[in-house]
Point group: C2
Chain length 284, copies 2
């Protein structure tokens, strides 16, 4: 990998900050753009960025790669405002958890001579801000590239190489529609479940004394950034509603087996889930 590229990260939150740390460690030249001075100062003193600024004009004019690590809805607006400063030939990318809802506006709005590649690093934390950024969260994580009709091979190769260079494990190339369908199941549904599990607690019980690792694991992501996740949920609502319905059917099967005292069916469901979980670990 040729590391003499100049890269600008917009948004030094947990994901953008982790990218910046990982890229700088590998020797890339990284500039950071962020609204708050506090995060810029922290990123500078952590060595995550070479220079920081509140707005991107100067950095965009000299960057080979731009990664916009903002909330999905902010990306379109950001490009409308600052797209004109982007250098010809630049590859622009994102880290958003959903894609379909803004793909057309971005593909239509990106300056000619540049390309936008839709990327989704499957790494994050329930906390917010640069102080929780850590390049370790990227190590071995899945990296998704969601193609559109206008995606070039060059862009896919460049980002795949970059992702692997900073530690991502498996790079999976898919299309935007498949990405959003599968992500509704693997990412948004687990968050909906975690939220529902902890919210269904009987508030009178001293729950903390009655829990083991399983409850702790299943509710970790119930501590959720409400602004980001309401956007992800609503921006992918048809897929998410469909996957919630499939899940409800499976849980309904367990409930019915309990009502019917159907031990055979319960065991069948448990054997199926065990086999699938073992298979998942093998594919890791």
């Amino acid at each position: 990998m040729n590391r003499d590229k100049i890269i600008t990260i917009v948004g030094l939150g947990v994901v953008g900050g982790s990218y910046a740390l990982a890229l700088s460690k590998k020797g890339y030249t990284v500039f950071g753009v962020n609204r708050s001075q506090e995060s810029l100062d922290a990123a500078l003193s952590a060595g995550a960025i070479k220079e920081g600024a509140h707005s991107p004009e100067e950095f965009f004019a000299k960057s080979d790669i731009i990664i916009i690590a903002l909330y999905p809805n902010q990306i379109v607006e950001y490009l409308e405002k600052y797209g004109k400063y982007i250098k010809n030939g630049c590859l622009v990318s994102d880290v958003a958890g959903i894609k379909s809802c803004f793909v057309d506006r971005i593909v239509g709005g990106i300056p000619s001579g540049c390309e936008f590649l839709f990327c989704h690093p499957m790494a994050g934390r329930e906390k917010r801000g640069f102080k929780y950024a850590d390049d370790k969260v990227l190590q071995g994580a899945n990296f998704l590239i969601a193609r559109t009709d206008s995606t070039s091979e060059h862009a896919v190769t460049l980002m795949s190489d970059l992702a692997k260079d900073i530690g991502f494990g498996n790079v999976r190339i898919t299309d935007v529609a498949t990405h959003d369908k599968v992500i509704a199941y693997t990412s948004q549904l687990p968050h909906a479940i975690a939220v529902s599990l902890i919210n269904s607690d009987d508030e009178d019980s001293d729950t903390a004394s009655f829990i083991g690792d399983s409850y702790r694991d299943l509710t970790r992501i119930a501590n959720i950034n409400e602004d980001l996740w309401s956007e992800l949920f609503l921006g992918n609502r048809d897929n998410l509603i469909a996957t919630i319905t499939s899940f409800e059917e499976q849980l309904g099967a367990i409930k019915k087996a309990l009502c019917d005292e159907d031990e055979v069916l319960l065991k069948k469901l448990f054997i199926k889930s065990s086999q699938r979980r073992v298979l998942l670990e093998k594919k890791k």
Copy 2:
């Protein structure tokens, strides 16, 4: 804690084996009973037990404490068969995840001069057998004691001290009915959810490439011992059905908010779940 007690563990699986390891390390004299010679040999060579046997007559006759680490349904039968060998004054206990379904049969069947104390260590693993036993899983874990009308203060104090001595964190004393109600929510419901989540996967998709830590965390316990857990589910079915229903209502609220595109309600649910999760960590 007076460690010159003689303790017999019946069943050297993950939980029984972990107890044996922890107790032996602390200097208690531990005897182990297990059907398979393989586990007895492994426990002996790991220093988890002083002696092992396939049946308990000899050990029961000299033990001060007996911990029956078998499946719930096996405990009653085991005591019917071997109860007569138990030494006068012995404290007998269990590790079962549910209680109400066999409490009466045990309290009625325990030899006079002995006491049975219902205990539930909130520690375990998704794997089976002594080779996965590890006293580390007990460290800091919750330990539940479920009282009945005939539970003595002496027994509660003795087991609380023993649990703390081998590394358990919080010891929570409750009653059998409350235990089963809360455990349906904190233990069985998470397992029902994990099973349903992985079973609702579209089998055609290459899911493993699309997952992050959240999906991995939420499905870990979908690898489930079907014999044990069908017993736990069916033995606590009324409580479990009630808690599944509460959970369904919460998930239904998210689904409705999606259908209605109700961002305000979604955020409200997320803020509530986040506050509860933060509170849970504080109480740890």
